[in-house]
């Protein structure tokens, strides 16, 4: 699937939240490629402690001859709600299977699991510090864990089923700004901390199994196998191995989901004892990795995004860099993204297209679309008047949703020129007549 170049200059639909007092901090659309939820309801968390749900397909009203659509929220959970959050909602995600539940994490140190239909809190987790981000695995078949990154150094996994913490992952030396589940394995969690480290965790084992190091790099990414398989030599071989191992790894997971308890560690998880065997101490491999002080960014890691195939990881840091990591090798691919400045104090939410050709990055007041593999800017979307915090790309509608400090969520869609020409020709002409040259003298 090829994304049409976003020419949002024509007509962007604008979802405005008139009642809101705070900046939009996080967006999540109920998108699940596997499942059948329709990708219709957009969930947003805002800094005034509210979370709201929008219907992105049906606008509540149209302005300007139907060219500007305004969406009002379907419902909103804010401070006036008895179970609402007191401080900013930093993270709001849908339950990955359906829209019956959603999870909000807030600066008031709580993670709430809400029943959408009754808008009641069903499970509540108290965290040791401000919650920066929550994440649920979209491929998980055998667990329903919420990974939470907080001010605290430890990453906690909250189990909705039992209402308790199942894991406490320690290794970071500072607060954890972003957490992200792998797209290829339900057990793999990626976390990025304020200490600049990106750690990979296998939640079935102790400790983290990979710490990304910005000084370990490889030149260029390995090209997609199907196209370049015959032409490439050694790298493609290793890639092939990696790829196949991932494929292998996927099958047993499905089995475990079906109740077959076969356990196989995919070769994706390179044990640190092999890579750093020279330490020579009989330490537990998990604990050993906690001594690894490698950093992926100078400063905090503010955003993480795993590509759709689960092979690459994009990370944004407070050093205003965007890095592309090869997860298989754990190397920085040295793609130079033309990022000028990034938000440094808050976590940002990146978005990418499903085929991983474009990544959308909030760059201060604009959103930039970069080509993932070359790093070149393919589009700069200007529309917000204050810093953009988050974006979400809907591959079904080919629309981008962006939230900003100016309390608006903008929808960026590809041009609908064809539709306009056929459907409402007369109307269109009449409208465009008002935008013509008008030289009186």
């Amino acid at each position: 699937m090829v994304l049409e170049p976003l020419r949002a200059g024509t007509i962007g639909i604008c979802i405005s939240r008139l009642s809101l007092q705070g900046a939009v901090m996080f967006l999540d659309l109920s998108i699940k490629p596997v499942d059948l939820t329709e990708g219709r309801y957009l969930l947003s968390g805002a800094s005034d402690g509210s979370a709201a749900v929008y219907d992105v397909q049906c606008a509540t009203r149209y302005e300007g001859n139907g060219l500007v659509a305004k969406h009002e929220c379907i419902f909103i959970v804010d401070k006036r709600h008895e179970q609402g959050h007191q401080y900013a909602v930093s993270s709001a995600i849908w339950y990955p299977i359906d829209t019956g539940l959603f999870i909000t994490g807030s600066f008031d140190q709580c993670v709430n699991v809400w029943d959408t239909n009754s808008t009641r809190v069903v499970v509540n987790f108290k965290m040791p510090g401000k919650v920066y981000r929550t994440a649920m695995s979209s491929v998980a078949g055998s667990h329903m864990l919420i990974a939470t990154g907080t001010e605290d150094v430890q990453v906690r996994l909250c189990d909705i089923a039992s209402g308790a913490f199942t894991h406490t992952l320690s290794g970071h030396r500072d607060g954890v700004m972003t957490v992200e589940w792998s797209n290829s394995s339900e057990w793999v969690l990626v976390t990025g901390g304020c200490d600049g480290a990106i750690r990979f965790w296998d939640i079935r084992r102790a400790g983290c199994f990979l710490v990304l190091d910005q000084s370990r790099s490889q030149l260029g990414r390995r090209p997609p196998i199907l196209e370049h398989l015959p032409s490439k030599g050694s790298t493609s071989k290793s890639l092939l191995a990696g790829q196949s191992s991932i494929n292998k790894a996927r099958t047993p997971q499905k089995k475990t989901a079906n109740g077959n308890g076969a356990k196989r560690v995919p070769s994706l998880y390179r044990t640190p004892s092999q890579t750093k065997g020279s330490m020579g101490q009989r330490l537990h491999p998990g604990l050993l990795s906690s001594r690894d002080r490698a950093t992926a960014h100078y400063g905090a890691v503010t955003g993480l995004k795993v590509t759709g195939d689960g092979m690459y990881l994009l990370s944004a840091g407070s050093d205003s860099r965007l890095r592309l990591w090869d997860i298989e090798s754990g190397c920085n691919t040295l793609v130079n993204y033309e990022v000028t400045r990034l938000e440094t104090r808050k976590p940002i939410q990146l978005a990418n297209t499903q085929d991983s050709s474009l990544v959308f990055v909030p760059c201060m007041t604009t959103i930039k679309a970069f080509d993932v593999w070359s790093g070149q800017t393919s589009k700069t979307l200007r529309g917000h008047y204050e810093y953009v915090n988050c974006c979400w790309f809907s591959s079904l509608d080919q629309e981008l949703y962006t939230g900003s400090n100016d309390r608006q969520i903008l929808v960026w869609s590809p041009p609908k020129s064809v539709l306009h020409e056929t459907d409402e020709r007369g109307n269109n002409e009449q409208v465009s007549a008002s935008d013509q040259d008008c030289w009186s003298d």
């Binding site: 200007r382 529309g383 008047y385 100016d406 903008l410 409208v431 465009s432 030289w439």
Partner: protein, 686 residues
């Protein structure tokens, strides 16, 4: 157009440069026009214009930005390409023109910056209404400024709509009123007409009576005139005609006085009421839009006829007698005058004014005025004054009275000025509207109490005192502008000074003497102080020199000591290497070193003693010098030195010797013990 196309690109840049380089509040219209025509010629010029205008917007001066904004508005409303180019960086443009970002405020001249902002906001609103649909940046920017930052937009469109609406409503209302009037007119038309006609008839009758009275003798005169007419020259003839006309007029006399009065009254009625009402009705009829226009037209016609008729009658009345018009004019003047004086009189008089009655009386019969029993002295005076005949006299008296009269501030106490009546009261207080209900004549507030309540309060007004500035010359130039009552904290008492700030001594004799004395004393004191300070300085330098000397000595001693120590150690090292082998090495060395150290110590002691004694000497020297300077200091010094002398050298030597012996012994014992331990611990190394 052809010419402009021929001119190369960049024309617009210089034009914009010139247009924005001015201090005017508007762009030069000729420049603006040429900019427009140049820009219109080609797209590249538009691109250039956008670039240069944005450059101008980035200039760090509000005036330049303001003019650039005006040009931008002109082009923005006209060119689509210009819009689409400007909109790309619209947030930047907004921050430059409105300055909504806190880190990017508008630049220097604040007044113009304010104007720039308001203009930019106005334009943004205008652009949003006309192009907001097509350019999301404009729309979003407008939304953002309005809903998030809560900027106040002038709301031009809505305001205009509201005004329109209001006007429409007003019109509808006035139409309704007119219609209502029209309806009443339709009902009352016969009665109105009757009234007017009756008045007209009465006037006609009056005039007829007057003329018939006159007619008796006029014809003869007329006949005479006609006979001799052709013999007179033209100017004489003119005079004749005038006199003839004059003779035609009715002269008021005792027998036709009543008729004249009636005529006057009728005339007044005619002019003030009927003519006026007819005109009013005509205007109503002209403006009204009723359902049946026929009635309106017919009545309008009638009324116009009536009006003409009335005017004719008025003319006849005026022609009939000069006294009539004159008196009416007088009366009207009196009417005004009366009212004024009445008010004035009421203020100064005891009785409450009754203007209505007075008006009635004046309007009806002039002569009756003086008979009015209610009128008191003052009003009588005023009325007498403004009676016909002695106008100038009345004015002068009035002026005199006015000049004498004190000016009172307005207040409630003026309502019953020096009235000695009791005031009725009810349970709520003063019975102000007693005639509306039952009145209890027993419940009364005594006049004294009322007077007490109405004591006029006057506010004391402080005299404005102009505090003189200090005006003492400042070091950096200019004069001190501090305004203190008596003494400036920086320049002493405030005295009159000339333009340069030099004091002007108004009373030189006494002041100067004292100041001289004072300055003398001050000078002496200063000299004394300087002397003291110098002495202290001298003494301190001496002391410092002495200190330095003693320090040097001590340092030298230390160096010497150190040298010796180094030499000694070198000697020990050399001896220990060569001389001692075997078991006793350690102990021997210790012993040796101890002994030597003791010796060295003694030596050191001696050196030290020397140095201290020297320093004491120095101290004594210093003492001697100090004696000259201060007595107290000397005493202290001697005391200190005495205290120091108490420990004699002998004592100290003895002490030292004792100590060294004791330590030597213990050290030896300890080292032996150590040796033993060492041997035990490492037996194989021995």
């Amino acid at each position: 157009m052809e010419e402009e196309r021929d001119e190369g690109g960049g024309e617009v840049i210089s034009l914009i440069d010139r247009a924005t380089n001015s201090t005017a509040a508007e762009v030069n219209p000729r420049l603006l026009k040429s900019i427009k025509s140049v820009v219109r010629s080609s797209d590249s010029e538009i691109e250039l214009a956008v670039e240069t205008l944005m450059e101008k917007m980035k200039k760090n001066h509000s005036q330049v930005r303001y003019l650039a904004l005006l040009i931008i508005n002109e082009l923005f409303m006209r060119s689509k390409l210009f819009r689409s180019l400007l909109v790309v960086n619209f947030d930047h443009f907004l921050s430059l023109s409105i300055g909504f970002r806190r880190n990017l405020p508008l630049p220097a001249p604040p007044a113009i910056a304010v104007r720039l902002r308001s203009k930019a906001i106005e334009y943004l609103e205008k652009w949003n209404t006309s192009f907001g649909i097509h350019y999301r940046q404009i729309r979003l920017g407008f939304d953002y400024l309005k809903n998030t930052l809560h900027f106040q937009f002038p709301n031009l469109q809505q305001n205009a709509a509201r005004l329109q609406q209001e006007r429409r409503e007003r019109e509808i209302r006035s139409k309704e009123i007119l219609l209502k009037k029209f309806e009443t007119l339709r009902e009352n038309l016969p009665s109105i007409k009757d009234e007017i006609n009756s008045t007209l008839e009465e006037i006609g009758e009056c005039l007829d009576i007057l003329h018939t009275n006159e007619d008796d003798f006029i014809p003869t005169g007329l006949a005479d005139d006609e006979e001799v007419e052709e013999f007179r020259c033209s100017d004489l003839q003119q005079i004749r005609i005038e006199s003839l006309k004059e003779s035609e007029r009715v002269h008021e006399s005792s027998d036709n006085k009543v008729i004249c009065d009636a005529l006057r009254e009728l005339y007044k009625l005619l002019v003030t009421k009927h003519l006026f009402s007819v005109q009013e009705w005509i205007s109503v009829l002209l403006r009204v839009e009723p359902s049946d226009t026929r009635f309106r037209d017919s009545t309008l016609k009638e009324f116009i006829d009536l009006q003409n008729h009335l005017k004719a009658v008025r003319k006849r009345c005026e022609q009939s007698g000069c006294a009539l018009t004159n008196t009416t004019n007088y009366e009207e003047e009196d009417f005004w005058e009366e009212g004024k004086i009445q008010v004035f009189g009421a203020k100064s008089s005891n009785a409450p004014a009754r203007p209505n009655e007075d008006l009635a009386s004046t309007s009806t019969v002039n002569e009756e005025k003086n008979i009015d029993p209610r009128q008191n002295e003052a009003s009588n005076v005023s009325e007498r004054l403004d009676g016909e005949g002695d106008d100038s006299d009345s004015n002068s008296v009035r002026r005199k009275l006015l000049s004498e009269a004190p000016v009172m501030n307005w207040g409630s106490s003026l309502d019953n000025w020096s009235s000695n009546r009791d005031v009725l009261a009810n349970q709520r207080g003063l019975e102000l509207a007693g005639h509306w209900g039952r009145v209890d004549y027993d419940a009364v507030i005594p006049a004294a109490k009322i007077a007490e309540l109405n004591v006029q309060a006057t506010v004391y007004k402080e005299e404005h005192v102009d505090i003189q500035p200090c005006l003492a010359p400042l070091r950096k130039g200019g004069l001190c502008q501090r305004r203190d009552l008596k003494v400036c904290p920086f320049h002493g008492p405030i005295i009159p000074r000339d333009a340069e700030g030099n004091p002007i001594n108004q009373v030189p004799s006494t002041d100067k003497g004292t100041t001289k004395l004072e300055t003398e004393v001050v000078r002496q004191l200063a000299e004394q102080a300087v002397k003291n300070v110098r002495e202290r300085d001298r003494w301190e330098t001496k002391k410092r020199i002495n200190d330095r000397k003693s320090l040097n000595r001590a340092k030298l001693a230390k160096v010497r000591e150190h040298n010796e120590a180094v030499l000694r150690e070198a000697a020990i090292a050399s001896t220990s290497h060569s001389a001692f082998v075997g078991e006793d090495w350690e102990g021997e060395k210790n012993r040796q070193s101890r002994a030597k150290r003791a010796k060295v110590c003694e030596h050191d002691e001696a050196v030290l003693r020397q140095s201290t004694s020297r320093s004491q000497f120095a101290g004594e020297d210093r003492d001697r010098e100090n004696q000259r300077v201060s007595f107290v200091k000397e005493k202290k010094q001697t005391l200190a030195s005495m205290l120091r002398k108490k420990v004699t050298t002998k004592d100290r030597l003895a002490q030292r010797l004792l100590n060294t012996r004791a330590t030597d012994a213990t050290v030896r014992q300890l080292t032996i013990g150590e040796d033993a331990k060492y041997r035990e611990a490492y037996p194989n190394q021995w």
